[in-house]
């Protein structure tokens, strides 16, 4: 009896992996590298996939982690003045939850938590450490701002499934998108259960002169500053001298 229980537990653990392994869903971005050049103004990463039959889909796109500073204003008499500032570390720069239907309607809350399918469930570190109440106010502000900027969003029209087989989705990256690795996690859902799972990635990186400038500014910052400033002065001087002589 005990033995069979253990076996069942083992099966319960292994079976989902087997289900994933038989490729119920496979999804890949059309490009593994998004390259940032001088005229970069955002990108549209086409993503294609195959699914083995009817069901609902959730595609979760997680951007690289990004540290931000949050500040707030408080009312002081008739005036609005600065009232504190915190650093928020460890949260993804971007989080898209694409789905074929509203996520709440296709997955029970416990499963949503398990697969971290809540925009406001993201883990983060607030520095300096604050009491729970105070930290919560900052956390809520963080989510509100992220959602307002469209960096954290839930979209139940962003996935197209053609004849229950072909999956097409466009991942829209903003012009100031964070550099680094983006993860695409896809879940196939049938009657409230996750029956298929696939993970893929793409990378956003700077190339050419962009990359060179970034490296120079970070590796030899003082030299870079002196050269840039002198170049600025020479540029200002030359352009002025030329246009003045005209």
């Amino acid at each position: 009896m005990k033995h069979s229980l253990r076996l069942m537990a083992l099966a319960g653990f292994v079976l989902p992996f087997l289900a994933w392994a038989d490729d119920a869903i496979v999804i890949e971005p059309a490009t593994k590298r998004v390259e940032i050049t001088t005229d970069f103004a955002g990108a549209d990463v086409k993503t294609y996939g195959v699914v083995d039959g009817p069901g609902d889909l959730i595609i979760k796109i997680t951007g690289p982690r990004q540290d931000v500073t949050l500040s707030r204003e408080i009312k002081w008499g008739p005036l609005w003045i600065g009232g504190g500032k915190v650093n928020v570390a460890g949260a993804p720069s971007l989080l898209y939850l694409y789905a074929t239907k509203p996520i709440a309607s296709i997955l029970p809350p416990a499963e949503q938590d398990k697969y971290q399918l809540r925009l406001e469930g993201v883990q983060m570190r607030i520095e300096p450490q604050l009491l729970e109440n105070a930290a919560d106010a900052w956390r809520q502000a963080f989510f509100r701002l992220k959602e307002k900027e469209g960096r954290y969003l839930e979209d139940d029209h962003a996935i197209k499934v053609i004849r229950h087989r072909l999956v097409v989705s466009d991942i829209m990256l903003p012009g100031d998108t964070q550099i680094g690795k983006y993860e695409i996690e896809t879940l196939l859902i049938k009657s409230g259960k996750v029956v298929g799972h696939d993970v893929s990635q793409f990378e956003v990186r700077q190339v050419g002169i962009e990359r060179w400038v970034w490296n120079a500014a970070h590796d030899n910052s003082w030299l870079f500053g002196i050269v840039c400033t002198l170049a600025a002065m020479v540029l200002g001087f030359t352009l002025n001298a030329v246009s003045h002589r005209r």
Binding site: I36, T38, D39, F40, A41, G42, A43, D44, Q66, D67, V68, T69, L70, S71, R72, E73, I74, W80, I81, G82, N87, S93, W138, A141, R144, L145, K146, K148, E149, D170, M172, G175, D176, T177, I179, Q206, E210, V213, W214, A217, H218, S221, W222, F224, G225, I226, C228, T229, A231, A232, M233, V234, L235, G236, F237, L239, N240, A241, S243, H244
Partner: protein, 335 residues
């Protein structure tokens, strides 16, 4: 810098559509990590350049909020404002030098003072930051100082413009007429020196101290300080307005260059594409401003500067009294 400018000219007009994003006239900034509209940045540059050429202020107080409003992170806005001013001031100083408007001797003394004061100001800023009240102190400083300077200048310049038909009114404003005890004291300070281009004679300690005062303020406010330096030279040092414009620009060149280098070194926040585009824009403005300034009577120039200063003060007051639509603000940390 020039590479950015060349790329901008070559590729700026290439209209292409990436997915749903229209990248017409967009330039990606490698340090700020964002795309900006080239035309918009050129226009910012032109506006600031025009003010520089006309009244000798760098326009840091203007360019920083404009860039932040466009979505550029604050530290990058401040830093590239300084880089741009170094470039603009280099160009504008050249024009002013051609017009014979720079008092080099005065500029060097002021500069020595402002570097001393600037160093102390950085230390002071550090203490205020640790106390957690830096932002508020700076805002109040802006409002009080700009409000006072602006309104005083406004009154004086309006009077001067009204009374312009009095033929031998002193060029440097009405304040010249009142010798006071302070004046007597100043006249007895050591290191008396002549500043022939400005046509004044005074102890070198006076511009040195004034420079130091301005230096402290510029460190705290993070701007070139032209809008403080210019009134100081006009009203306290009693220099002719046109010489003031040239000297201020020349002095500004060194202050902003130092800030620009330090920002790049410490904060990695100077973006050559952004600064280059701003400078390119500012050149058109500077030229036009300097030509207009050369033709314009001194009291009108002072009136324009007074209006600019009052405008900034009013804007700062608005920030303080208008309830923000969102009390929280988020900024990406620049590594």
């Amino acid at each position: 810098m020039s590479v950015g400018a060349v790329k901008l000219i070559l590729f700026g007009r290439k209209a292409l559509s990436l997915g749903g994003y229209n990248s017409f006239m967009e330039l990606f900034l490698p340090i700020a990590h964002m795309d900006v509209n080239i035309v918009l940045i050129l226009m910012y540059g032109a506006l600031v350049g025009f003010l520089s050429g006309l009244v000798g202020v760098g326009g840091g107080f203007l360019i920083t909020p404009l860039l932040i409003f466009t979505g550029v992170p604050p530290i990058i806005a401040v830093s590239n404002g300084a880089t741009q001013m170094a470039g603009t001031a280099a160009g504008a100083s050249f024009i002013q030098w051609r017009y014979g408007n720079i008092d080099f001797r005065m500029a060097l003394v002021l500069l020595a003072g402002s570097w001393l004061g600037g160093g102390f100001g950085v230390y002071l800023a550090n203490m205020l930051v640790r106390g957690g009240q830096f932002g508020n102190v700076v805002t109040f400083l802006y409002v009080v100082l700009l409000g006072f300077i602006g309104i005083t200048m406004l009154i004086e310049s309006i009077r001067a413009v009204v009374r312009v038909d009095a033929p031998d009114a002193p060029v440097s404003g009405e304040t010249a007429a009142r010798p006071s005890r302070t004046q007597a004291l100043v006249d007895h300070l050591p290191f008396q020196a002549a500043f022939p281009i400005s046509g004044v004679r005074m102890s070198a300690l006076v511009p040195l101290m004034l420079g130091a005062g301005v230096g402290i303020l510029t460190s705290l406010m993070g701007v070139g300080g032209g809008f403080i330096m210019v009134p100081v030279m006009i009203y306290l040092l009693k220099m002719p307005t046109k010489i003031v414009v040239g000297t201020s620009l020349f002095q500004l060149l060194f202050t902003t260059a130092a800030v620009s280098i330090m920002q790049a070194g410490v904060n990695h926040s100077v973006d050559p594409f952004l600064a280059g585009t701003l400078i390119l824009g500012s050149i058109f403005g500077t030229n036009y401003g300097a030509r207009l300034g050369a033709r314009m009577p001194a009291e009108k120039l002072r009136l324009i500067l007074a209006l600019v200063v009052v405008g900034v003060a009013v804007k700062m007051v608005m920030i303080l009294v208008v309830p923000p639509s969102e009390v929280y603000e988020m900024a990406v940390k620049v590594r």
